[in-house]
Amino acid sequence: MRDFKAQLRQFIEDNFIMGPSEPAVSDADSFMERRVIDSTGFLELVMYLEETWGVTVTDDEVIPENLDSLDHLQGYLTRKLSA
């Protein structure tokens, strides 16, 4: 299975993580609970997914079950790209 997490982690660290003192986000951590990404941040994340992997994220796919952790993103992209 293709691994998207490393690249996604890089994007999230570059764009959202506050600083070196912040403990790393684990694969299962909710970005919302960990307060890493807020509402406009999720819009940026969706744009990044579309630009990087050429997927079209439909409105009803913008839900925490698809986007709100590295594990969820991995699952979502895997399903999207195999469809």
């Binding site: 570059d14 993580i17 600083g19 919302m32 807020d38 509402s39 941040g41 409105d59 839900i63």
Partner: protein, 505 residues
């Protein structure tokens, strides 16, 4: 009449009525009262007394609402703080207001930990999701119990809340609001909206923002229900909740409405119960007004204008939307508003001037900031009375309807929230390698205005836009973080060497 009296009345008469829905949880008025009671008892045991300040550094949820009721019951003053606030600003507010107790979440420990460590006034921190034991001041969230408390004998001239608002100086100011102020505002707003006890208000606005907070206050006045969403990150989830709970009232800001209207599957949701939509914090464009009305033909849309210093000022009666869509309306019930010229003289209809507000909802001033207070609160028509100078420029048409023109200060409105350019500039200036910075607002389809920073670098310094944004994320609330950073060779200056922002965009 105190702010929590109506709530207590509903508890006494209809304890089993639903007050709050948060995700899968449903809380009745009785349940909420029991939760508040146990928090109040715990605060009392820690020495919180009438007039003391209690900060609510909490997400939307039952903890916030019960904590607010508990604080009011004690005669203490609640201070809502946006949960995206960072540690240095939190420390500033805790110190400025000499807060004695903080109610918060374990998940925010990285922020409140350092802030509390540098705030000697804070003697107790009650932490939801915390098992306790991390120091004498840090305590687990109070468990429900049967505690009874002595009445603190509060009166409606006592402070109920202090709400911090961004100021052009870069330091936030605490807006002092009495019970009378807040009861008056809640009554006026719920009256003109025509809210009812069977309403179900869907609130995805932060409760730390007065627009969100008053959804709860107005519901409790009427015995209505509030469905609280944590935020608006996943609009489809909010729509699902709106449909499931048969929400009748939806308060929003233009950013939320833009996100909703961009959804291709909006029509798939049954929102037929929706009867009132409200907008404030920033103006909706005429095109958005038309779209919203077409999408929700069964709902009436209220365009409104306000400021934290008095909560709300004007509303446009829905039947006026077709006649004067860009007007913010006129004064609400039990309030008088007028325009003045630079000398403070009252202007006739058809003129342009600063909006002045008179009523029981006008704040008592900024906490321990007499100069800033004097700039806003000035003597009114009756000796001893103070009226509020809004700092905003309006014009009236020949019938007296108001149209917002501009702010007198340089505050940016992004996502409906106030952003002080100075505060952002201060944060960016503290980044090593930055020589000078100027922050302005630029038009943005979704945000209303986006924050843009122009930066010049020190010799030999090298920074990327990302470096600047990351630094801001660590020091500012999320809505204040620049969307754009542009590096320039130099910034335009005035004759006296000050940075000149006109023309920067």
């Amino acid at each position: 009449m105190l702010l929590h009296h109506d709530f207590e009345g509903w508890v006494a008469r209809h304890a089993d009525r639903v007050a709050l829905v948060c995700g899968q949880e449903r809380h009745t008025y009785g349940d909420l009262a029991r939760r508040a009671q146990s928090i109040a008892a715990a605060l009392r045991r820690r020495g919180v007394r009438r007039g003391d300040r209690v900060a609510l550094f909490l997400d939307n949820g039952v903890e916030f609402v019960a904590g607010m009721v508990a604080t009011l019951t004690l005669g203490a003053v609640f201070m809502p703080i946006n949960p995206s606030t960072k540690d240095d600003k939190l420390a500033y507010m805790l110190g400025d207001a000499r807060v004695c107790a903080l109610l918060t979440h374990e998940s925010l420990a990285q922020v409140w930990g350092p802030a509390v460590a540098s705030s000697p006034s804070v003697r107790s921190v009650f932490v939801a999701g915390h098992a306790g034991g991390a120091g004498t001041a840090v305590l687990p969230w109070p468990a429900p119990g049967a505690d009874s408390l002595a009445d603190p004998d509060s009166i409606d001239q006592d402070l109920a809340a202090i709400i911090y608002t961004s100021g052009s100086t870069g330091f936030p100011k605490g807006v002092m609001l009495t019970h009378l102020n807040m009861v008056s505002a809640a009554r006026s707003v719920s009256t003109y909206l025509g809210l009812r006890s069977d309403d179900v208000i869907l609130c995805a606005l932060p409760l730390s923002f007065d627009y969100g907070l008053y959804q709860v206050l107005m519901a409790f006045r009427l015995g209505a229900s509030v469905v609280l969403e944590r935020n608006f990150s996943f609009p489809v989830k909010v729509l699902e909740t709106m449909e499931r709970e048969r929400a009748t009232v939806f308060p929003g800001v233009p950013t939320m409405f833009s996100m909703l209207m961009a959804l291709a599957n909006l029509a798939a949701f049954d929102l037929s119960a929706l009867r009132i939509i409200t907008n404030t914090a920033a103006a909706l464009s005429e095109a958005h007004i038309q779209r919203l009305r077409a999408l929700f033909p069964q709902a009436t849309l209220f365009s409104m204008y306000g400021l934290t210093e008095c909560k709300r000022v004007t509303y446009l009666p829905p039947e006026q939307l077709d006649i004067r869509p860009t007007s913010v309306g006129r004064g609400m019930p039990n309030e008088e508003v007028w325009l003045v010229d630079d000398q403070g003289l009252r202007l006739p209809n058809g003129a342009t001037g600063e909006l002045v507000i008179r009523g029981s909802h006008v704040m008592r001033g900024y906490w321990e900031k007499p100069e800033e207070t004097a700039a806003r609160l000035k003597p009114g028509p009756i000796p001893g009375e103070m009226v509020l100078y809004s700092g905003d420029l309006f014009r009236t048409d020949s019938d007296g309807w108001l149209y917002f023109l501009a702010r007198r200060d340089d505050i940016i409105k992004s996502r409906g929230e106030k952003v002080s350019p100075r505060e952002v500039e201060n944060a960016i200036s503290s980044l090593e390698g930055v020589f000078e910075v100027a922050v302005v607002g630029v038009p943005d389809e979704i945000l209303g205005q986006a924050v843009k920073a122009f930066v010049t670098l020190a010799p030999d310094a090298s920074l990327s836009a990302r470096d600047v944004i990351r630094h801001c994320l660590a020091h500012l609330e999320n809505f204040m973080v620049p969307k754009y950073v542009e590096f320039v060779e130099s910034l335009p200056k005035t004759g006296t060497g000050k940075i000149k922002k006109t023309g920067l965009a």
